[in-house]
């Protein structure tokens, strides 16, 4: 069913009784052309673009839990392309352009809102650094605006501009950045993929990737063995666990990241605001809740729950820029597992095993990349070649030295 104003009006006259489920619950077939491990945002968008751009219909996505149960349904929903490294900017800009046309493309309301992303700076040297980042963006055709203190005040007047330790001197604004409704993104891609014949197999856990003579033959799952000519791993925090079953060792460590939502308040924060003297980002959802997060808990973890020092650190950073929200109550907070790569940038590449492809290392910036990640991974799976905007995201860049280290912190994933 195509969603439009007419479908809404006609349903209103039918008592809303004709809405159909937007995806099926199929049983696994014995064999697929391509099998994607991981039914999160990236896995679903990979399936969507494989079907839409490359005409594949005999493909499946396996997901161990329910659809969108991982980080795609539990993140801080920020969409932006304000990167600095040459290997990253074209990729994330491609992603932002896909975001701009996404709702029309998959005919689903993802509540994409280009409300702007403002990175605050707190010192002269940081202003210079942000100017450099803005220049790097503009060299790739991405607009960036370096705002001074008064210009920032026009946008977000309620910040603590004269904080004794971290005074706000200005900010780098990307007006085209913003937020999107994370669940709807997963659902939109799932619906688009399903309607094109992709089987989305929920509650189907990948147990073991079967490799014979250096070639992938299929995946052992909790619902039996599924044969596949090509297998794509898009398993986020559990990437290394599933890759290990094929004998792969990856430059990835898993860490827990916490995120927070407050009770709903009246409209306060008009854009995404990030704190420059630490790592803190906040926006306000359409429901009114403040959605925010900070850095990782700094030790490896698969526990999907954080510890209190991480909470304290996040709240302290919030208070450093927005003391006005100190009395707002937290509604909920949660932890998720992040696949942190050794240079803080993602990997979309082939592996040494014939027919096995990998899409991982999204650290905690995967949401904004959801469309382009799927777009480029689908291109790789279909053609065997990297998409032109993803040529730098190679698995072997740690061997060749062409790492993409935005933060400049080296091979220490908990610092990215």
């Amino acid at each position: 069913m195509h969603y439009s104003v007419f479908s809404i009006i006609s349903q209103a006259f039918k008592g809303q009784k004709d809405w159909k489920p937007v995806w099926r619950y199929p049983d696994p077939k014995a064999e697929y052309e391509i099998l994607i491990i991981g039914g999160g945002g990236h896995g679903l968008s990979t399936a969507y673009y494989l079907a839409k751009n490359h005409g594949y219909t005999n493909i499946a996505v396996i997901e161990k839990n329910y659809l969108g149960s991982g980080s795609v349904g539990r993140n801080t929903t920020i969409v932006r392309s304000n990167y600095q490294e040459p290997g990253n900017i074209p990729f994330y800009e491609h992603s932002l352009k896909l975001w701009e046309g996404l709702e029309q493309d998959f005919n689903y309301n993802a509540m994409m809102s280009q409300r702007g992303v403002l990175n605050l700076y707190h010192s002269d040297s940081q202003r210079d650094d942000y100017a450099r980042r803005g220049n790097a963006m503009m060299m790739h055709g991405v607009r960036a605006d370096l705002l001074n203190r008064e210009q920032v005040r026009d946008v977000v007047p309620f910040l603590d501009f004269d904080n004794a330790r971290f005074p706000i001197h200005g900010g780098l604004m990307q007006w085209r950045g913003g937020t999107a409704r994370h669940d709807a993104v997963a659902w939109g891609f799932a619906r688009g993929a399903d309607s094109r014949g992709v089987d989305i197999l929920q509650n189907t856990e990948a147990k073991q990737i079967r490799v014979e003579n250096g070639k992938v033959t299929g995946v052992e799952t909790s619902r039996g063995f599924i044969k596949a000519k090509k297998v794509g791993i898009v398993a986020a925090g559990n990437t290394t666990r599933i890759a290990e079953t094929a004998g792969l060792r990856l430059p990835i460590e898993s860490y827990v990241l916490q995120a927070f939502v407050s009770e709903a308040i009246k409209p306060l924060i008009p854009c995404v605001v990030t704190f420059g003297a630490g790592h803190f980002y906040i926006s306000q959802s359409d429901k009114g809740g403040l959605v925010f997060g900070a850095s990782l808990d700094y030790y490896t973890s698969y526990a999907a729950r954080g510890n209190l020092p991480g909470v304290e650190d996040t709240i302290e950073e919030a208070m450093a820029i927005m003391p006005s929200i100190s009395r707002v109550k937290l509604l909920r907070h949660w932890g998720g597992i992040m696949d942190m790569s050794m240079d803080g940038s993602p990997i979309i590449d082939k592996t040494g095993i014939d027919g096995l492809y990998i899409n991982c290392g999204w650290c905690y910036g995967g949401f904004k990349a959801t469309p382009a990640s799927g777009y480029c991974f689908a291109h790789l799976l279909a053609t065997g070649e990297s998409h032109p905007v993803a040529t730098a995201l190679k698995l072997n860049r740690f061997e060749t030295g062409y790492v993409i280290d935005e933060a400049g912190t080296g091979a220490q994933p908990n610092l990215h």
Binding site: N238, T240, R241, R249, L250, P251, I252, E253, S254, Y298, Y299, T300, S301, Y302, A303, N307, P309, M342, F398, E399, A411, Q412, N414
Partner: protein, 92 residues
Amino acid sequence: MRIPCPFCGPRDSQEFSFLGQAGLKRPDPNAPDAQMQFHDYVHIRDNKAGVTQELWLHANGCRSWIVVTRNTLTHEITGSEFASPQVKEAAQ
């Protein structure tokens, strides 16, 4: 999370900083495949889900490097010891 420091006793995890997987052996730079070995040494990790051994520094305490045995699925810590004997052994 509390970490039992072998010198100071159980201390808050905020006093410690985390380095990563313990027991990595620095490769011989003169080996014929040294480049690949160093690649693995710097970038490739087990990233185990379960009981791991990892290096922590008691940065805001006795400043000892310690090897902590911890379960990454539950955050349960079952032991810790000074890192120096292990490091000395690996260096030989």
